[in-house]
Symmetry: D2
Subunit: 153 residues, 4 copies
């Protein structure tokens, strides 16, 4: 767990970013006829990134839902810098943006493993929602998780 | 509503097949780097086919689920004859195989609209399942639907 | 073809927006276990929107590629306002943002057909790229297309 | 590398089956509103299985395509035994059916890692196709690969 270097062009990754690294391989079903990964699939890799970030801090997203809290996506963004091809391995770095209150914002950076080139950057925003679909304040167990992430940063 | 001509190589479409025609266009996100539609996406078109077949007989699949009955897929099969490309329009023909008891079997044929060439054939099988996930006999409203399809054939 | 009303919270839809309306239905394969359409699938609907916008002005995206010009996605964004459910019909409105030079920016708005509620808004950005993957100025046939869209607005 | 136990209900896995094991986790984007993985996504896991099988024998599918040979899917089949849920880990076993001549048939078995229950079984068939899309006999390097798989079984 190390802070991501500053200087991102998307958002202020700031001094309190902590991240998880996960690798994903581009399968044939991810590619399109241009020969590259189809842009919508990057959001699947983002999902894998934030899921593994939460898991690495001891709380799976599945367990969060089992406690009656849901984190639907309220905004998703991705900037694509270089195309990624079939069978390439991606390193998905995911950070929790702790400047956000009342919800979660995850930041993502994808690098190509073979040459460490930056492939894409993006973010997703997530309010806390209860079982009836109402936006709620993050319950204590989530505040504890966020504090834990900060302490380990 | 007319019976499909016999002679299918997949299964006995027989004398009691009734069908629905729906068209779908291949989008970029459906293609893979070979330039053709990725094989797994055909099962999405099959889903569209059976959904529109049910709707054309007055009962949406959504309404079936709202009555507490689910039709999960227990088997899926597709034979691919010619590749289909980006922006091609497919005609999805869907039939209900009424030789099957205790569940549903849908048969599918995909033609390319531009030249009417047969692109693929397949089928899916669906048991009737209740809200607890147990396989049950088709309830009366589904038997009525099947009878209605037969009468109109 | 009518301009979209102003007041979007995403970007200046301005006075020169021209748009295409296309409808899409949410299939089972689009939903996730929350019961709503998975957020990544919205970018497939965006693709359908911009493809049909171009087609409505007489030039399919396929034809553009056949002339050796590609419009890959350099940025994609979506804000999700209300969840959309299985079997809902979406109205996809797509506009060309003509304040952008040297490439294309498409803006999208999704409404639920049943009650006309705004479901989501987003945009995608696309540089013009040639067959070798190099960014190029839009060739004359694309400038003509843009002019045609402006004239009809 | 050990032979799969006999007794499959789909096909004769026989005495000459050799297999690769790969694990995949079910992500949110794989699920549908029934709460289970959508049936079409299993074919993505099958793709991962056969790709890793080939790679484990020293030849990536990407390298096969770079030699001008393509293995498109001519038939795909899956039988679904128990539903698989969000965040479950699947073990994908893939075998090469060496009773098939003139092409490839891969057999797949998916188990749930947590309790080793059989989730699904299936197969895909693949002719050898050259760059012009014509079916050809498997070239020597593929025959060598098949022989290598047999020898190691």
């Amino acid at each position: 767990m190390q802070p991501i270097s500053c200087g991102s062009i998307i958002c202020d990754w700031g001094s309190h970013m902590f991240y998880n690294k996960t690798s994903c391989r581009v399968i044939y079903g991810d590619t399109d006829r241009m020969g590259y990964a189809y842009h919508a699939h990057y959001f699947r890799w983002f999902e894998i990134g934030r899921t593994e970030l939460l898991r690495s801090f001891g709380l799976s997203y599945k367990a969060i839902e089992e406690k009656g809290i849901f984190l639907p996506v309220s905004e998703a963004n991705c900037k694509y810098f270089i195309p990624i091809r079939y069978d390439d391995t991606l390193i998905v770095e995911t950070g929790l943006d702790n400047g956000v209150k009342g919800g979660f914002k995850f930041n993502y950076r994808l690098h190509r493993e073979s040459d460490n080139q930056l492939v894409a950057e993006g973010y997703t925003k997530h309010p806390c929602v209860n079982g009836e679909g109402k936006v709620v304040r993050p319950p204590q167990f989530l505040l504890d998780l966020i504090a834990k992430i900060k302490d380990l940063g």
